[in-house]
């Protein structure tokens, strides 16, 4: 691995919630003590159920919400300590793509206007003709006809809107794009097209992705490494093959068993470990290991003390569970890891 592009250290995002005139607000720990690194050209998948803090993590990395604590090192420089102007200069290198295709685009602007806006912002004084040419080239690159430049977002399908969003993110040639569930709102057939597009763009521009999803089967095709979050905490992180073949954390194991298997015979043979119970309130997380209320292997130790992240066999594969060694890892060899 070359020098990391991004190093996130002990990142915390806490939201004050409630709190009236006389009561102090309670702290909702959306992201709690999360650390990871990202190499140039790498894709890191971030998975976890809805409400686990995936979006908050992405927004805090981009400084769109202020992190409560921790450091976000971009090529060694801490983004949290930059003032607004300095951060805005950096933003051409860090972009994002959202889940809701239509809400991502201002309905009152033409597609051309939407694509030119980043250029005018990052390259003040750029000639209009050059901005138009580059917007047209970018439209062609994401598979849209440049003649549609003067149209408004409401005239496009969800998949096309997502292509426009991707074009807007890519037009400033960023080095990191955070994709926050970019295909979750799309039909399955269109999901594959968008993922293929993201892959092509990665090969072409050597961009890194943080790919957020609540669905492991989506990240499988795109990611080099995978990180599993639960209630704002890092449960397991490792290379894709390790996560799919030898998942160590009970939460990862149950997420994997929820991934549909096309072959019904093999699906029946598989040990079903679907999650029981609901996600506890993030305002009032369980003591000790946050996963213990839904973990089939929980013991009194899990109530008392929180497990720390430790390396498994390989240094790259880390897990936060007291009993990872004694839990026989499922052999999920029937899961094609995809390439």
């Amino acid at each position: 691995m070359s020098r990391p592009l991004l190093q996130v250290e002990n990142l915390r995002v806490h939201f004050p919630v409630g709190g009236g005139l006389f009561s102090r607000p309670r702290m909702l720990k959306a992201v709690d003590d999360v650390s990871f690194q990202l190499a140039p050209g790498e894709t890191l998948g971030v998975v976890g159920e809805s409400g686990c803090g995936k979006s908050s993590l992405g927004r805090a990395v981009l400084q769109l919400i202020p992190p409560t604590a921790g450091r976000v090192l971009w090529l060694g420089e801490d983004l949290c300590r930059l003032d607004d102007d300095a951060m805005n200069v950096k933003r051409s290198e860090l972009q994002l793509v959202f889940q809701d295709p239509l809400a991502s685009l201002n309905p009152r602007m033409t597609v051309g206007g939407i694509l030119r806006e980043p250029l005018y912002s990052f390259e003040p004084g750029i000639a209009r003709s050059e901005a138009e040419d580059r917007a047209a080239a970018m439209m062609r690159r994401v598979g849209l006809r440049p003649e549609m430049m003067n149209r408004y977002p409401n005239e496009f399908s969800g998949g096309q809107c997502q292509r426009i969003s991707i074009a807007r993110a890519m037009i400033s040639r960023p080095r990191l794009v955070i994709c926050d569930e970019p295909v979750s709102a799309l039909d399955v057939s269109i999901q594959a097209q968008i993922i293929a597009l993201l892959r092509e763009l990665q090969a072409e521009y050597e961009v890194s992705y943080i790919f957020i999803s609540h669905d492991l089967s989506v990240v499988r095709h795109l990611c080099h490494r995978i990180m599993v979050l639960y209630l704002g905490k890092l449960m397991e992180i490792g290379p894709k093959r390790d996560i799919f073949d030898t998942p160590r954390h009970p939460y990862t194991q149950s997420l994997l068993s929820a991934v549909p298997i096309p072959d019904p015979r093999r699906a029946r043979q598989r040990d079903q470990k679907l999650l029981e119970g609901d996600l506890p309130s993030p305002l009032n997380p369980p003591s000790g290991c946050v996963f213990r209320t839904r973990c089939p292997h929980a013991t009194p130790l899990c109530i008392k003390s929180a497990p720390v992240l430790e390396a498994t066999g390989s240094e790259a594969h880390q897990v936060a569970c007291h009993y990872w060694q004694s839990l026989t890892p499922e052999t999920h060899t029937d899961q094609p890891t995809g390439e």
Binding site: L64, V89, R91, L94, L96, F98, N106, R151
Partner: protein, 303 residues
């Protein structure tokens, strides 16, 4: 029908051949829906007619506001002597007075609404966009001002500064922007959640640019509807103030002043009440029809 679609197809083909594709914005969609609303379109024409008359009738008429015709005191409307709307108890031509009153009433309606619009949109969008403590303080101020009764406020202004038409502008505008700012704030809060606002922050735009380019254009629909309902409200408030003797001063006149004078002479000259009253009522109806039409046209659910 077939001819029309054929023509449209040919136009489209011609434009595509020219290498351009036209987009249909939400505005254009809304305009198309508004055009198909007969009551609203009819109201637009009626209002345009009244406005044109307000501008040109006093200029073109041989009579002025201050001509007293002693030989024509309280003459009912007729086509014979040149006083089409009759004359009042002082022998003044009611045609000129009615449209002069229209000038004043419509101007007050539009100007005070413009004042309310400017302050209300700025105040509400800033409060909504920044949220938190700024929002809290700004909206508390609005709450406090809300508690102040309009009439009381204007009586104070008039007693302190004397009777003056500009005070009426300021007084009404100063009260009406409060509702506007609440509407705008609520809209801003919901637009702020939209991902395109976050995307705008991610490309490093300043807050001012984001509010101007991404927030205001997306909250303007309900604001336009409110404006069309605010104009008749202010016209009515002005009439009410004039009726109480707090409005414009002679020889200037407004529909409110005319109605108040007409009400005093309802036995001797009913047309003095009926004519300005009818114009006021028609104008209020027209604005309401237009407001309804705009609301239906701009409502995204209505598509």
């Amino acid at each position: 029908m077939g001819f029309l679609t054929q023509r449209r197809d040919r136009q489209l083909a011609a434009m595509q051949a020219a290498g351009r594709t036209v987009g249909r914005s939400l505005w254009q969609d809304a305009l198309r829906r508004f055009r198909s609303n007969k009551a609203a379109m009819g109201s637009v024409f009626v209002l345009a007619f009244i406005s044109l008359m307000a501008i040109f009738a006093p200029m073109l008429s041989p009579h002025t506001l201050e001509d007293f015709y002693w030989e024509y005191i309280l003459v009912p409307p007729t086509l014979e002597n040149g006083h089409w709307f009759g004359t009042d108890a002082n022998g003044r031509d009611m045609f000129v007075r009615t449209f002069y009153g229209a000038r004043v009433s419509l101007t007050i309606g539009v100007m005070t609404t413009a004042v309310a619009l400017l302050i209300g949109v700025t105040w509400g969008s800033v409060a909504g966009y920044f949220g938190g403590r700024i929002d809290n303080i700004m909206m508390r101020i609005v709450d406090v001002l809300y508690a102040l009764p309009l009439l009381f406020f204007i009586i104070i202004l008039v007693t302190v500064f004397g009777r003056n038409i500009y005070l009426v502008f300021i007084g009404i505008g100063a009260v009406e922007w409060l509702t506007m700012s609440r509407i705008v704030r609520g809209q801003t809060l919901s637009v702020k959640q939209k991902e395109y606002v976050e995307a705008a922050r991610a490309i490093g735009l300043s807050n001012l640019v984001i509010v101007r380019r991404h927030v205001v254009p997306n909250i303007i629909g309900p604001v336009i509807v409110f404006v069309t309902l605010l104009i008749p409200t202010t016209i009515l408030v002005e009439s009410y103030l004039s009726f109480l003797g707090l409005g414009v001063q002679e020889p200037m006149t407004s529909w409110g002043t005319l109605i108040s004078q007409g009400a005093a002479s309802i036995d001797t000259g009913p047309w003095l009440l009926v004519i300005p009253g009818t114009f006021l009522a028609i104008t209020l109806f027209c604005f309401n029809f237009i407001g309804d039409g705009l609301r239906d046209a701009l409502d995204p659910e209505g598509r």
